[in-house]
């Protein structure tokens, strides 16, 4: 049996209250007694039960992270930012993968609420109206990442996907490209849609004919989509909605005997770690993922502490990273 505060109290010949005081660093305990208690705690290998404490204080030191898939290279850095910030603020972190399955999302959210988490960082693309209602009635603070839902009490932290895409495409156009294709992400993912819009508008503003191929946010999808793009459009440049797609596209381009960037310039989005390891090095839009995670937890913490009222949305800055895959850079 694990020792409880009771055992410690008994053995140290003091009351549970006193043990509780030394546990909580209450200064008004005589040094002698404090030391005695501390010694007993050591001897017994006693660890206070956080759940009992939580129950008594009616507040917990746990928060939850719900994301699509930690296996997708975009997320580990985000998760790390969240985790680091959480621990810095004294929270333990629950984690759950949903694969973007709305049913699982709801299930995990409810599970976390039952665990009495103080708040949840939610990364989801598939929130339907009903789930949103559901969440809003939960009385549990929620912060969204990479996703904005208007008219809800949820804070959000994201980048300006539209602008990022517009800039990337304008950059390509500025280099003289007229045939710029776009590999888009799933329609139900807000950032994918916004990136597509940014692409479309940049093309329109330059009086160029757009060409969009829609797929999923995976390497395989990039390989696959690029095949038809190459056949139907003869692009000299490509803006992919994320790096995985870009990487897959490059693979397919090479397979067809074309070179990147000489024949087709490629630029992705996200700046996942692999982008710095691929050949050619991938040009991309760098997203401050780690910082997004940290910020999300800070917002959550504010909400939990009731520091703030009203919704808050944070737009973080992205950055165009010019590496090898879009040319004009000496092979270092």
């Amino acid at each position: 049996m694990k020792p409880t505060i009771h055992h410690v109290a008994e053995r140290a010949q003091v009351s549970k209250a006193t043990v509780s005081r030394v546990l909580n660093r209450n200064p008004q305990v005589k040094d002698e007694i404090r030391e005695r208690v501390l010694r007993v705690i050591e001897e017994l290998g006693y660890h206070p039960s956080a759940i009992a404490r939580n129950l008594a204080t009616n507040k917990t030191n746990m928060i939850g992270l719900i994301l699509p898939d930690i296996t997708n290279p975009y997320f580990p850095v985000l998760a790390r930012g969240i985790e680091d910030a959480a621990h810095r603020l004294g929270y333990a972190l629950f984690i759950s993968n949903t694969d973007n399955d709305p049913k699982l999302e709801r299930e995990y959210i409810h599970k976390m609420v039952e665990q009495q988490v103080g708040g949840i960082v939610l990364i989801s693309s598939t929130l339907d109206e009903q789930t949103v209602q559901d969440l809003a009635s939960l009385r549990t603070p929620i912060v969204l990442c990479d996703r904005l839902i208007a008219n809800t009490p949820f804070d959000a932290v994201l980048i300006d996907d539209y602008k990022a895409a517009y800039e990337a495409v304008s950059f390509l156009i500025g280099k003289g490209h007229k045939q710029v294709a776009h590999l888009a992400g799933p329609k139900n993912i807000q950032s994918a849609e916004n990136r597509k819009l940014g692409y479309l508008h940049a093309m329109r503003d330059a009086n160029l004919e757009p060409f969009v191929s829609v797929g999923s946010f995976t390497y395989e999808s990039g390989v696959h989509q690029m095949g038809s793009v190459l056949e139907e459009y003869k692009p000299t440049a490509l803006f992919a909605s994320n790096d995985l797609l870009a990487l897959g596209a490059i693979h397919e381009i090479n397979l067809r005997g074309l070179r990147v960037p000489e024949d087709v310039a490629v630029i992705g989005c996200d700046d996942i770690p692999f982008s710095k390891m691929s050949r050619p090095l991938l040009s991309t839009i760098s997203i401050p993922v780690y910082q997004i995670g940290v910020t999300a937890v800070q917002l959550l913490d504010d909400q939990m502490k009731g520091v703030r009222s009203g919704t808050k949305n944070m737009i973080l800055e992205h950055k165009l990273i010019h590496r090898e895959s879009c040319g004009g850079v000496e092979n270092k």
Copy 2:
């Protein structure tokens, strides 16, 4: 205020005990009453408090995962295996990154124990004698991944790193290579050491002169180490202790105007997702990471349920994956 079982009971005009019964699907509740209670639960948006329940039953449905760094591409799949298995068994999962810092490891372990987790999956390379003692006295089930500690009560699940390395190197030697270098991982990581041993023995058994360069398990380290290996040893083949190292090495090899696999054949270890996206595709030792995670949780569950006594070590099967980077495979 969040509704409690008390509110539900009151509103449904039954006792807390009855509400508890319907919560726990106790069949001996009259249908009529059950429905009434269920309806009230719905109306109130009531969610039972897991921590209160845990306190009452003295068992929890939480387990913890402590790993070095989710940002290292080896870990997400492992984490996913653990998470999936955990949820399947009804556990919520805590997660913490330690960066292999022994102090953080201890801190997080203790934090999780205080959270009353039922067990911990621990991925660590830096366990010193003292920490091991400490853990053993915790009365909390622990399962180790990728690491074995003899004479402890800890279960472990891993692969046979020695054998994996021996096979990889023998494979290279079998292809006629006589100058096979090794990029080793950190000395304090057990699997790195075992892989090095496997390499050494394979070379010795073939009467070949070994050449080892020790670094860390990173891409940058691969780039850096490969520089000197190329200058000092003129290898025709390379066995890298993990894929990141291999990928970095390939980068450096190419930078020096040499080709993979024509000039230097390369084989890595781990089979991280990026190995299937790199150019050339990386030959490697595939480790059943996902399965390691699943197995770890199963062992943990067994321990927690007291199903088993005594320590159990599981060695899972690795597999040599023959892709482009070691030659002899048509470029598909």
